[in-house]
Each structure stands twice: as C-alpha cells, then as structure tokens.
Symmetry: C2
Subunit: 92 residues, 2 copies
C-alpha cells in the first residue's frame, strides 16, 4: 500500500533585534544620548542603537522557522564579536 | 496647614523600532533578501531592515515615559516621511 504525506508549509515572520554588546561602546547611541538634552529631553539617557530586521520564512513549524532565523543571524545579520541578537517568531 | 508631596521618579526602558514604510523601497532589505539564497536559506524572503533603539527615561509614570519616547521619535529618531515607529515601555 502506498502512503502519501502532505507537508503543509507555513509562513512565519521573524522579528530580530541586533544590538551592540552592553559592555561595548556604542558611538551612535552616545551621540543620540548627547542630543536628547538639546531637544528638551534631559530625562532620556543610556541610548543604544542597533538594527531591527523583519523577515518572512517558509517552514514546516515554528521551531524550524526559528532555526532558519538563527542561521541567518549567525551567517549574515549579526557580527557576534560586537553584537548580540534576539529573535521572536510568529505565524502569519 | 502645609502639605508636602513626594513625587517618586521612576525609571523606564523604551524599546523603539524604526522601520521603513511598507510601501517604500528598502534597498538594504532587498540586498539582504538577495543574499539569503546564496547562504543556503532560500526560504527567507521579504527582509526589511530598520533601527532598534533602547533608551532609559525618568518619568512619574508609564504614560509620561511614553510621551517622552514619542517626542524623541518625532523630533530625532524617526524621519516620519520615510519611516514609522513602534514604542514599548516597561519599568526597571
């Protein structure tokens, strides 16, 4: 007897934050921090600036989508010497 | 009778995403999308790249902190002609 399987490929969205490591200087953040007082917002401090990346992934399940997003971060999106990343996955 | 008030200033963290408008071209995102197949991830598409900014705000309450973050976005962090922003506030 022949069996056939149907694998439903789902679409997921990964929201990724790539930020400079907390113990590294962040010149862009420092510049923004310095400007805050000048625009009337002295209550703002400790600004850190990184990247936000959203992407769509085709995968069989959420776990596989996370693996793909993690691979994309490691290989391309983040420089792990200077940056760390956070991934959140949701289906669409 | 004299009354005195003590206002407790709280510290909040604002996590801000500044992204290119969905109907605008995002050359950096397009470049990343194009590279995904080359690094063995053809399942990834529709990459959009923006900024993630975290900052600390001193304020009396969460609502005031949100107002300050919103002001910072409008005045400095986002170019509203080309970008939109999302703010999430939590206390520390």
């Amino acid at each position: 007897m022949q069996q056939s399987y149907i694998f439903a490929v789902m679409k997921y969205v990964a929201e990724i934050n790539v930020m400079p490591h907390k113990n590294l200087l962040d010149p862009q953040g420092k510049a923004v921090s310095g400007s805050m007082a000048a625009i009337g917002l002295p209550q703002v401090s400790n600004v850190r600036v990184g990247k936000h990346i959203s992407l769509e992934i085709e995968a069989l399940n959420e776990n596989e989508a996370f693996q793909k997003a993690d691979e994309a971060c490691k290989k391309l999106l983040a420089n792990q010497v200077m940056e760390y990343y956070e991934i959140s996955i949701h289906s669409i």
